[in-house]
């Protein structure tokens, strides 16, 4: 079954290309530009993994993780950060984030993490219809 991913980043260029690359790997991807948009989507749909940027307008990634895990403690959340320090990483993990990935992201590692969530083997690239 196709994995369902929610990706949240306010940088449209990054969002667009990450969505495309994940879809090429057979994932079903929904995107949001803010945490508030993500909250609405989470209320409406179920996701296997959520990938969220730390720096977002309004509610930031850390605050969003806290708010989401209060409602959905089983949600797997990967925090993306452009910070080079480990403080944010520790803070996010302590808050319940599943993993923290520093930008620029190692996409293969990210894919492996997502596959690990659903217990699937690696996904091959495929052309979208």
């Amino acid at each position: 079954m196709s994995k369902k991913i929610l990706i949240v980043d306010d940088d449209e260029d990054l969002l667009e290309i990450m969505v495309e690359r994940m879809r090429m790997r057979g994932m079903t991807v929904v995107s949001a530009k803010t945490a508030s948009e993500a909250f609405i989507l989470i209320e409406q749909e179920t996701f296997d993994v959520m990938i969220i940027d730390f720096m977002l307008p309004g509610i930031d990634g850390l605050q969003a993780i806290k708010m989401i895990l209060e409602k959905q403690p089983d949600m797997r959340i990967i925090l993306l950060t452009a910070y080079a320090t480990i403080e944010k990483e520790s803070e996010a993990l302590a808050m319940g984030a599943w993993d923290v990935e520093e930008k620029p992201v190692d996409f293969d590692r990210l894919t492996r993490l997502i596959n690990a969530q659903t217990g699937e083997a690696g996904t091959k690239l495929k052309i979208e219809d």
């Binding site: 260029d13 990054l14 720096m55 452009a82």
Partner: protein, 221 residues
């Protein structure tokens, strides 16, 4: 005297630290986009090996996206370079509109995260002052930072540059927060030292809801 010098240094280091952190953070975002575009090219090449032809138009689009990020990064590095070089000459003739624009572009991401816009109203004729460019940049940064913090989301911080009989003024606002909470309008940083270095005044007008930096035409006079 030594304490004042130490305060100047601390304020300068803090300003430079914040700018460097902000821009390096943005640069990592740019690198992330370039990295993903490189990844997409790899994906296409893997698919091509598998017999799926590569669309040349698509390759052109990716190249365009990479080029756009390179330009974005170049702008950031230019700004950082300008700040770095502003310490070269402790006294210089400064075009205020240009300096305000540089500081505003550096603060743009900060403003976006608060869902606030920055809008500069340039003077009809260039307004210049002879001043310490590094200290003035810091003072403008302090004011913009404060304005971003106190205005409500979705609002615009207007910044106007005007010449006065004795020099020039940079006006921030009007901001409702200044009208409503006058006690909460002072920048948090030790701006007193900066004002002293620049022979400047920071004036809060509660009726207008503005914060104004008043500068002499020449700090040596």
């Amino acid at each position: 005297m030594t304490e004042t010098k130490n305060n100047h240094s601390k304020t300068g280091v803090r300003f430079f630290g914040e700018i460097t952190a902000l821009l390096s953070h943005e640069l990592k975002n740019v690198l992330a986009i370039i990295n993903e575009n490189a990844g997409l090219l790899e994906d296409f090449s893997v698919m091509a090996v598998g017999g799926n032809p590569i669309d040349p138009e698509r390759l052109g689009m990716i190249a365009g996206k990479i080029r756009r990020q390179v330009r974005r990064a170049d702008e950031m590095i230019k700004r950082l370079n300008l700040v770095g070089h502003s310490v070269d000459r402790p006294l210089d003739t400064v075009n205020l509109a240009g300096l305000v624009e540089i500081v505003c572009t550096m603060a743009a991401r900060k403003a976006t995260l608060k869902a606030v816009s920055l809008a500069i109203t340039p003077p009809s004729d260039p307004v210049t002052v002879k001043t310490d460019p590094f200290a003035l940049q810091q003072l403008i940064w302090v004011c913009i930072d404060r304005a971003i913090r106190i205005v409500e989301a979705s609002n615009t911080v207007e910044i106007a540059i005007k010449s006065t009989t004795n020099g020039a003024t940079i006006v921030f606002g009007p901001m409702e927060a200044i009208r409503n909470k006058p006690a909460d309008t002072g920048p948090e940083w030790p701006q007193k030292e900066l004002l002293g270095m620049l022979n400047a005044d920071l004036v809060t007008d509660r009726n207008q809801g503005t914060l104004a930096v008043q500068l002499p035409v020449d700090i040596t006079e």
